[in-house]
């Protein structure tokens, strides 16, 4: 509470990373008029993100200095760690996009600007200490992502993806506003900490109306993180959007959704742990079940990974359900690991795409190990990591959330989760099986570039290093989010 000026000019210092990202995005918009080479745009975007990354950790340290703008904006380890995820996400996405967007003939300069706008929205969400700021960030993120999903405007399915995402997204925003107004109506505030205080002071934690407001909030966040039954958009949008954007969306908005879900539940509704678990536990179970089971039936790899990402949202939810700081830490840890393994998998998918060849059918992976042993080996690593087999990072992520779930007394839930993770093993194994155990139908030519190789190297190395030396990540995440 060191800031007293309500205008909050001194608070500007805290939003330097957000300002940096937004400024770079604006510069990119202008740059597009004079620079024709998209490599330059991507380079500027990545450089800008790195500056923001430097800013986040150099200016504030890992734990951040506190609040600004009349306590509407908060900087803490939690927000900073989520920002790290967003930076990694956007940098890797830019790396894998370059050649791909050219192949798709959708190489627009706005692409990179929109990625950064979307990222800045996520960053604001992670730092939101007030429901209004949260809404602001969420809309900024969502609107930019709608456009990105429809960027291949000559392709029908891209249009469909954008439209569907937009309508359902707007729908979920309405839920969010309902939730905010109900909460505001009963507690008289939109500030998360003050909501918690007034729930206690007015003794209305048992009120059904507050519960209803809470449910509305969970539903709208559930849309963003693709929990069943609010997942309907995900498979179509993931399939229709440009693959690089699918990679971006499967990590960014999901992580941002978890960021706000975690903060709102823990900070504002911490006293209602029992109530929100009554909603979240069934959601987690059907999310894991539907994600794992429906993925078995997919023949398009992007759709399959869409359902896989739904299932993973279910596992991540276990940490929130635990309701302890340790549980929250485990969810955030999972998200960071998920970023690497999922973008890595999408990077391999993108490599298969070339002029006149979609490379999205699972059949296209037949015999990949024969012609391209390295690409197949990388995909193998990502698939086993998504399954959660050691010594990959995916195992560490799952082990941590299961551990926290069991520690908080949800042993049955953990057993359900491990059973579904075995079921999900089947469709990841199927990709490995196609690559290694079938003969190729036709020669697959890979589209590679330096930036793509860089992204693949980073993701694969991180997946293996975190898998063998988990302390590297665990120490960081546990310092940021003390639990």
């Amino acid at each position: 509470m060191e800031t007293t000026d309500l205008v909050g000019l001194s608070g500007l210092r805290l939003i330097i990373p957000e300002l940096t990202v937004i400024c770079i995005a604006l510069i990119l918009l202008l740059l597009e008029l004079i620079v024709k080479k998209k490599e330059v745009m991507a380079a500027v975007g990545i450089a800008g993100t790195l500056v923001a990354l430097y800013g986040t950790f150099k200016l504030f340290g890992i734990n951040g200095p506190g609040q600004a703008f009349a306590n509407m904006f908060v900087l803490d380890g939690y927000a900073n760690f989520f920002k790290l995820i967003f930076y990694v996400n956007v940098i890797l996405t830019m790396c894998i996009s370059l050649k791909y967007m050219a192949v798709e003939k959708a190489s627009y300069g706005e692409y990179y600007a929109l990625l950064l706008f979307s990222t800045s929205g996520m960053m604001i969400m992670a730092s939101a200490a007030d429901l209004i700021v949260l809404y602001l960030g969420l809309e900024l993120m969502a609107l930019s992502t709608y456009i990105l999903a429809g960027l291949m405007r000559k392709q029908l399915r891209s249009n469909e993806a954008a439209l569907k995402y937009f309508f359902l997204g707007a729908f979920s925003s309405a839920f969010l506003l309902y939730g905010i107004s109900l909460t505001y109506g009963l507690t008289g505030t939109t500030n998360l900490k003050e909501i918690a205080a007034s729930l206690q002071a007015l003794n209305i934690a048992d009120s059904p109306i507050v519960f209803l407001g809470l449910i509305f909030l969970i539903v709208s966040f559930g849309f963003k993180i693709a929990l069943v039954p609010f997942h309907m958009w995900a498979p179509d949008v993931y399939e229709g959007a440009p693959t690089s954007i699918t990679a971006f969306m499967s990590v960014g908005p999901k992580a941002a959704g978890f960021a706000v879900l975690g903060r709102v539940l823990f900070e504002a509704f911490g006293s209602m742990h029992v109530q929100w678990n009554a909603v979240l536990i069934p959601l987690a179970v059907i999310t894991m079940a539907a994600g794992s089971v429906i993925a078995l039936a997919q023949s398009n790899i992007k759709r399959m990974l869409a359902y896989s990402s739904i299932a993973h949202a279910g596992y991540m939810l276990l940490g929130i359900i635990a309701g302890t700081p340790g549980g929250l830490t485990s969810t955030v840890n999972y998200l960071m690991i998920y970023t690497f393994m999922n973008i890595g998998a999408f990077a391999v998918i993108i490599m298969l795409r070339r002029e006149g060849f979609q490379g999205e059918s699972i059949d296209d992976y037949m015999g990949l190990a024969k012609g391209h042993p390295l690409a197949a080996a990388l995909m193998l690593i990502f698939m086993f990591s998504l399954t959660g087999i050691p010594p990959t990072a995916g195992f560490i992520g799952k082990f941590y959330v299961f551990m926290e779930a069991i520690n908080s007394g949800h042993t049955n839930l953990a057993i359900i989760a491990v059973i579904f993770s075995v079921i999900s093993a089947f469709f990841y194994l199927r990709i490995v099986m196609y690559m290694y155990m079938k003969d190729p139908k036709e020669d697959v030519v890979l589209t590679t570039s330096y930036s793509m190789n860089f992204a693949l190297a980073i993701t694969a190395v991180m997946v293996l290093v975190i898998g063998v030396f988990p302390s590297l990540l665990l120490d960081l995440v546990r310092v940021s989010i003390p639990g």
């Binding site: 190990a369 194994l429 490995v432 099986m433």
Partner: protein
């Protein structure tokens, strides 16, 4: 710590042994020439075997304590250490693993032409995983090795296996995974019960409430019973064994199947002694069913490899019968029989692989009078047949005798029933030998036929020789192996039989307490 002996050698011998194959596998990544890859792999496995030998020679047989122990901090925030060591139960499996790895590389010399690099990388990764399982003294480390091993095995079966390989590989993977993840939940529950440690020795020294023991025993049973495999969790095994390439079958039969029984000995028995005693009867029943059912199914097989695979179900039934007899003879016989089974069944799969390379058929009826076609081969095969039956003078006799002795001491009825399995075993093995070697020879396979089959060459004899020697060595002088395990087994049985509930209440009363 009082129950460990820090590494008595001047260098970290266990770490070297476990990670040398990993180093070899990394080296392979930079090679292109298939010949060079084979030589490198062979040298790596031989080197691993050689550096593991001081474990046998420097082993202190007078103590049950963990030896050659190394401990380093690994994941401090979870209280997890890199903690490895061996005792009299695990030391023999290290030897078995390093030896069979060498032989499986040798036997694949000509058989593997497709994707040689990936194959040898997988074999080395598998070897490291298996060694890791036997040396790990931290549950987290153990689980990492236990699961990581699945990846190379899955590829070995699925890429280089027989016609049904893909089905077999996926079945193997999913079956094992289901068991393992339930164990994982059990491990985490133990972690919190013990107050945040996964140190296996600490966990073994604690007393757990009966109800917890009961559920944890079941969770661990899921993982180990699938791996052994015990009837009725064995259905992955015939497929995996039959479809795997020779090297894969050898490693599966020789080492992987031992991990389930090893898990019972290392974890279930010392950690959940009361639950162990409660489960003796059900496990006896399943073991005896496994012994007899496995043997009967063998009699109906038309495929060489499938027959040997089902014989493993029968043999592993003996192993679980022995270790759950909970007396010195039974447990030592069980451990010895695991080693024996690794040697004999490993050798049988090697020999079948060798003949398959020549004839490209595994159907028993296609063979006939092979004794005249390949006399040397037939001569060696009969030794293995006798060892598998358990004829006195071979290692199989000692193991089965000790197990039956232990089982009689524990429960006479099951001893009698299990003994019929020995008779059936003689039945199917001799019947197999007769069908393959002593019928009218097919002239096609003769020296002047259309597909002449040559006898064993030097590489193949060298591959088999160590196993044949071991069969007789153990058969005539079993103490060479038994002497390693006496102290550890005695200590283990003391743990199991001296626990809180030992002899206090009847089974019914204990069950009432649980539910």
């Amino acid at each position: 710590m009082e129950n460990i002996i820090l590494n008595q050698l001047s260098y970290p011998i266990l770490t070297y042994t476990v990670f040398l194959p990993v180093a070899g596998a990394l080296l392979l990544l930079f090679m292109r020439n298939a010949g060079l890859i084979r030589v490198t792999t062979l040298l790596t496995t031989v080197a691993t075997f050689v550096i593991s030998l001081p474990l046998l020679t420097n082993f202190d047989k007078t103590t049950y304590k963990m030896q050659f122990v190394e401990r380093h901090e690994w994941i401090p925030s979870w209280g997890i250490n890199y903690f490895i060591g061996i005792d009299g139960i695990s030391v023999l499996f290290i030897f078995l693993t390093t030896m069979l790895s060498v032989l499986s590389v040798l036997v694949s010399w000509k058989a593997i032409e497709n994707k040689a690099k990936e194959f040898h990388t997988a074999v080395l990764a598998l070897e490291a995983g298996m060694l890791g399982v036997f040396v790990a003294l931290d549950f987290f480390l153990f689980y990492i090795f236990w699961e990581a091993m699945l990846i190379p095995m899955f590829l070995l079966i699925g890429v280089w296996g027989g016609p049904q390989r893909v089905y077999a590989a996926i079945k193997f993977f999913l079956y094992t995974l289901v068991g393992s993840v339930l164990m994982l939940v059990g491990i985490v529950v133990l972690y919190f019960t013990a107050g945040g440690t996964l140190d296996i020795l600490t966990l073994s020294s604690l007393q757990y409430p009966l109800q917890l023991q009961f559920w944890l025993f079941l969770a661990f049973f899921a993982a180990f019973a699938v791996k052994v495999p015990m009837f009725p969790f064995h259905t992955w095994l015939p497929d995996a064994h039959t479809e795997a390439p020779t090297a894969g079958s050898v490693i599966l039969a020789g080492v992987l199947l031992k991990m389930g029984a090893y898990g019972f000995l290392r974890f279930s028995m010392p950690m959940f002694p009361d639950a162990t005693r409660m489960f003796v009867k059900p496990i006896f029943i399943l073991s005896v069913i496994g012994i007899i059912y496995g043997a009967l199914v063998c009699l109906a097989q038309k495929d060489l490899k499938r027959l040997i695979a089902y014989s493993s179900v029968s043999h592993m039934g003996f192993v679980t019968l022995g270790i759950f007899a909970l007396n010195a003879q039974g447990v030592e016989g069980g451990i010895l029989q695991m080693v024996n089974h690794g040697i004999v069944t490993g050798a049988l799969f090697l020999m079948i692989g060798m003949i398959y390379e020549r004839t490209h058929t595994r159907v028993i009826a296609d063979y006939g009078g092979f004794a005249t076609v390949v006399p040397w081969y037939a001569g060696l095969f009969i030794i293995l047949t006798f060892a598998s039956i358990g004829l006195p003078g071979t290692n199989g006799f000692i193991g089965e005798f000790l197990i039956l002795f232990g089982a009689f001491k524990a429960q006479k009825l099951y001893g009698v029933l299990a003994a019929t399995g020995v008779i059936l075993g003689a039945g199917y093995m001799l019947w197999l030998y007769q069908k393959v070697f002593w019928q009218t020879p097919d002239p096609d396979y003769g020296p002047s036929g259309r597909h002449p089959v040559r006898d064993l060459d030097l590489r193949e004899v060298v591959t088999l020789a160590p196993l044949i020697i071991l069969i007789f060595w153990i058969g005539f002088y079993p103490n060479v192996l038994l002497s390693y395990m006496h102290a550890s087994v005695e200590h283990l049985l003391q743990d199991v039989n001296m626990s809180a509930y030992a002899g206090k209440e009847t089974l019914i009363a204990q069950l009432k307490e649980i539910f």
